[in-house]
Amino acid sequence: MDCQEVKTMLSDYLANSLKSNYNEEIKEHLAKCQNCADSFKKLVETDNIIKLTANEEPSEQYWNNYLPKFKTKLDRVSTLRLSNPFRIFVPKLSFAFNGVLIISLIIISAFFYKNTQQMKSLRYALNQQKEEISSQTTPGIISPIIVSKQDIEKTTAKNVKLFSEMEDMFPNTIQWVVTSDEQIELGLSRNTMAEKIVMKDIKPIFLKFNILKLSETPEIVSSANMMVLNGNEVNTKMWGLSKKDYTPYRYHCLPILRTDGKIDLRVRISLDGASLETDITAKEGDKIELGRIRKDNAEYSIYVNVISKGVDIVKTEDTGI
């Protein structure tokens, strides 16, 4: 292992996150290489400086009041929203009350039976979508799905149930489920930084940003940030670019539609500290170069691809029941 390799691994070595064989190699290297030992010492010293901020502390009284304050807030939360459908509350009240309760349960059961068929079609459609997502996207990409109102009611209990079922189908990918009067949005992402939005009567447009590294240099971008400035603010997203030169990114946004069907976009892209802001007019299917960003010795070309409008993946007939 040469000095350059050792230096790139010192951070992990200090965090004790290396495999044991690497640990031993680095330990041996540091014992005989003064230059690397000095680099390691600098890292440790910098960490120690950063750790000084851990000495900041609120008063003892604050900590004493923390739990009572939380309990007060907790008491205001009237019901605990649990996803366990088997948790049933049976009140010990009058015979008449229990009668009403049983009738209500029968009505609710009938309602759920009706929705079962819709859930089945939804599940089928989502499984199809799941396959598409796994084959076409990379981890960390947001792929919202729009589902029509008839499929699922917007009650909280139902949302929790839906969320739970979706989560089982897409382990670690479902981030949010939001309903509006017109539609339900499912946020699928492995990145927990995804945010949510509810918009009525507007269908989202998916923008796919492509970052193409033009020069063969070793620099790597650690974070990128895309923002549509003139749309309804939906989400910004940051992720680490891998060593691959070409990293696709799908952005979910609601830009303003013009009467001619085109969209006006003002986009800001940042790669670490370097940023680019530009206005474009595009229509569905367009692939446009937004511009180029130079960072360190590397140059990146940024493309945007307007993929499609939001799609209703489930369309069920209103049976009128």
């Binding site: 790139t8 951070s11 992990d12 965090a15 004790n16 996150s17 600098k42 890292l43 010293e45 910098t46 960490d47 120690n48 400086i49 950063i50 750790k51 000084l52 901020t53 851990a54 000495n55 900041e56 502390e57 609120p58 008063s59 604050y62 900590w63 923390y66 739990l67 304050k69 939380f70 309990k71 807030k73 907790l74 939360v77 605990l80 929203r81 649990l82 996803s83 366990n84 981890p139 960390g140 929790v160 969320f163 739970s164 989560e167 670690n172 992402s189 492995r190 990145n191 927990t192 930084m193 945010e195 790597i220 650690s222 974070s223 910004t236 940051m238 992720w239 680490g240 670490d272």
Partner: protein, 183 residues
Amino acid sequence: MEKEQDLALVHKTKEGDKDAFCELVQKYKRQVYFMAYRMTNNHTDADDLSQEAFLKAYESIGNFKEKCSFSTWLYRITVNMTIDHLRKIGTKQTFELDENVSIRKGHYVDNPIEERELHKEIKKAIWSLPLEQRAVVELSILDGLPHREIAEILGCPEKTVSWRLFQARSKLQEKLDIYRGGE
């Protein structure tokens, strides 16, 4: 053992036992508060965010599938809420020490004014990092969490954690170089 104890409390909470959840709050209040405080540098925000994170955890505990530890799940909620908050407030930030917070006895510098200035400079340096690098610095250097757990909290691969930490350390080393060797 600790994870099992937490899970026992989680199960009780799922059965409706609020006191069991309060035991979890008592146990993790410092970690959750400090996570929010170090990222926001504001006591009031950290207090609100940490209390809200616990409330959110309580409300959604039915969705906690126990695939990771409770603390990881709780950290994830806190980090996400804090990042959401930071995005909303934008770049406005003061690096002065919050009046509700004091510095425990430090050994780095003797003069309290110098010490406050030093804290200010350290925070400035950390704040200059991109948000996700700041989160990794917080979780790795200050909380001492392993990369695997940080990856679970932030929802990214371990290699990304490793790379972000490497980059953050390089930048911080450069910015804080003049303070090295003070001990």
